[in-house]
């Protein structure tokens, strides 16, 4: 299941950071990706919400600083 959703997430990351070779894993943290600031975070969250047809709750947004947590939340909401 997890491997299925990491692919589109990686695609979104590549678009947002304009880097076709960017690799991400469950362990990727915001500090690991150059340019992952609050602005890029906004674009990531918006694009992920749209792709998976979900909405994150206000309380969930602050903690979404690594890919593993993102994936867990997406799965929970799908």
């Amino acid at each position: 299941m997890k491997s299925k959703i990491i692919e589109p997430i990686e695609g979104i990351f590549r678009e947002v950071f304009d880097d076709p070779n960017l690799k991400i894993s469950e362990k990727t943290h915001s500090a690991d990706v150059p340019g992952w600031d609050s602005l890029a975070h906004m674009s990531l969250v918006t694009s992920i919400e749209r792709h998976f047809g979900i909405r994150f709750a206000l309380g969930e947004l602050q903690d979404l600083k690594n890919v593993g947590e993102m994936m867990a939340l997406i799965e929970k909401k799908q």
Partner: protein
């Protein structure tokens, strides 16, 4: 040419790549501009989107952004970083979230009025302080309607209502901006209405990121503001080029005939074409040039434009090209005949193949994806903001008329073997007479703005013009020229000083609008007659060389003067002995008929 996606989600997802692509377009030349965004909300996303749309318009902006909600502080108090940035444009990016004080249910009408005035005064202060420091234009958002109505429908009528309050603020702000120069209101209220208020307001985006509206609305707002900024920097389009069949009427005039095309209120389709023609006519009236580029027989095109139910007429077009040549070539001809760049054109055609061809071969021409549904053309052209304008001046309306007349003259000129035949065919008539009070303003304006056809480049005050007109030792002559295409107005002025039996030309100039019509010869004829009547025996004149008046270095020779002296700086002295033998110069103008 690279163009930005319409889908706002794509836009936000891919903006880094889009930026890279726009900047790498080898054909683009960018004008640099320094733009300060002083925001009442987080403006980074907006800045990113605005940057892309400005690049698309050929503007490469450097940005300064205020800290969140520090627009007032940055405007009113000195800020060394902003001072050093020295903006060429300031955007006050505020929204309904920045209204400091709302009316309460206990406020009287007078109190609400005071609250509204105080709110607007805050922006007035920002504008004044910013203008003092930077003397640059300011674009200021107005307020969008609020997301809820505590009084329900009464919110728009009761003086304590939020909707009424926002409307009041917007009206006051429009008045305040209208009475000062350099302040341009960005109609955020209209943006939000177009986008849909319920989609627009996003409280999660506000609480999480302090965004004024839903993040997906950002490209839409940025596009709308980029159009306004383009207009500010004089980069909007000037001319709407239209296909005919299935674009401004339904059907094909060559096949269906005048009676067969759909245009008129009887059918839904015909009514939609009328509506589109009305929109085009309104654009024409406010100064947008119109042209036809159609694959048609010329006579069929013209008969369609004279359809009894039609709104736009052949005479509303600055240029009509209907033939079977390629549209990309014909569009070049249109630009040439109007003497404007291809980058001033917008081409509208229902046929996707023609749109593609024009895009491919004339990449500077903008070709909107209007689709093939006539009822949507108006909205698609309007939203794209190609013809965004700061305000409408009388000159705009007249400019269209002059372009149209001039291009008619050019078409006519092409059909004659000799230029003299062409001039004769224009049926020109001129009024050439001493200065009169009703023309003092125009004469003053002309003297101070004419650079090219100007013998001495002398400038003056309006009082000078009045003084000279009343001075018996001066000969003053103005000329108005009209022809069969229209009136060019007052376009030429000559002044000479009399001393004894000698008159010396002090000033001789002409607007470029009427160059090469022989008007200078008609004026010379009148000047010579005037000298004769006054018993003068000699005319003197000097060509004073300037940066821009090479055009008239041989004027005096052409008028029959003989060269006396060449000065080192390029000035030349001339004279002409007045006698009965002098034959007046030849021209094709009927003087004072």
């Amino acid at each position: 040419m690279f163009s930005l996606p319409d889908d706002s989600n794509d836009f936000i997802l891919k903006k880094r790549a889009l930026r890279r692509q726009l900047l790498s377009d080898a054909n683009s030349i960018f004008v640099p501009k320094r733009i300060a965004i002083l925001g009442g909300s987080t403006t980074h996303e907006f800045k990113d989107c605005l940057e892309l749309y400005l690049l698309e318009c050929g503007i490469k902006a450097d940005f300064y952004q205020s800290e969140f909600d520090k627009y007032y502080e940055d405007s009113v108090f000195s800020n060394s970083e902003l001072n050093a940035f020295d903006p060429e444009l300031v955007i006050l990016f505020i929204s309904v979230a920045n209204i400091k004080c709302w009316p309460g249910v206990r406020n009287s009408k007078e109190e609400v009025e005071q609250i509204a005035s105080a709110e607007i005064k805050r922006y007035r202060t920002c504008w004044d302080k910013l203008f003092d420091r930077f003397s640059c234009p300011i674009v200021q958002n107005n307020f969008e309607l609020p997301s809820y109505r505590i009084l329900g429908n009464a919110d728009c009528t009761d003086h304590r209502g939020g909707v009424r309050f926002v409307n009041t603020l917007n009206n006051k702000m429009a008045e305040e901006a209208g009475s000062s120069s350099g302040i341009y209101i960005h109609d955020l209220c209209y943006d939000a209405a177009c986008y849909g208020l319920d989609r627009w307001h996003d409280r999660a985006a506000w609480h999480s990121y302090k965004l004024a509206f839903k993040i997906e609305a950002t490209p839409f707002v940025a596009k709308s503001m980029a159009n306004q900024i383009s207009a500010l920097f004089g980069r909007t389009r000037k001319c709407l080029v239209l296909d005919l069949d299935n674009t401004i009427w339904g059907g094909v005039i060559g096949d269906d005939g005048l009676g067969g095309i759909r245009l008129g209120p009887e059918t839904a389709e015909g009514a939609a074409y009328i509506e589109f023609q009305q929109y085009i006519y309104q654009l024409h009236e406010r100064g947008v040039l119109l042209a036809v580029c159609s694959k048609n027989e010329n006579h069929n095109a013209l008969s369609g434009l004279r359809h009894p139910e039609g709104v736009i007429r052949p005479e509303n077009f600055a240029c009509i090209i209907a033939n079977w040549e390629s549209k990309s070539d014909n569009i070049k001809k249109i630009a040439q005949s109007l003497n404007i760049g291809l980058d001033s054109l917008v081409f509208v055609d229902d046929n996707p193949v023609e749109r593609d061809i024009v895009r491919k071969f004339n990449p500077q021409v903008v070709v909107p994806e209007v689709g093939d549904r006539v009822e949507e053309y108006r909205m698609k052209i309007d939203r794209a903001g190609y013809f965004d304008t700061l305000s409408v001046l009388d000159e705009d309306v007249n400019r269209t008329r002059m372009y149209i007349e001039n291009s008619k003259r050019e078409v006519l000129a092409g059909s004659f073997d000799s230029y003299d035949d062409y001039l004769a065919s224009l049926q020109m008539e001129a009024e050439i007479a001493p200065f009169r009070e009703e023309y003092y303003d125009r004469i003053h304006q002309l003297i101070n703005k004419t650079n090219q056809f100007n013998l001495t480049s002398k400038r003056c005050s309006r009082e000078d013009v009045v003084g000279w007109s009343l001075d018996p030792e001066k000969i003053t002559i103005f000329a108005r020229l009209a022809d069969k295409f229209g009136d060019n107005g007052l376009t030429s002025v000559v002044i000479a000083n009399i001393k004894g039996v000698v008159a010396t030309v002090d000033l001789w100039l002409m607007s470029c609008r009427v160059i090469k019509r022989g008007l200078e010869f008609a004026m010379m004829e009148v000047l010579l007659r005037e000298c004769n009547d006054r018993g003068l025996i000699e005319l003197r004149a000097t060509y004073k060389k300037s940066q821009k008046n090479i055009m008239v270095q041989n004027l005096l020779k052409d008028l029959g003067f003989s060269l006396q002296l060449k000065h080192e700086v390029g000035d030349t002295d001339w004279r002409l002995l007045i006698s009965d033998e002098i034959r007046p110069p030849i021209h094709k103008i009927k003087v004072n008929p």
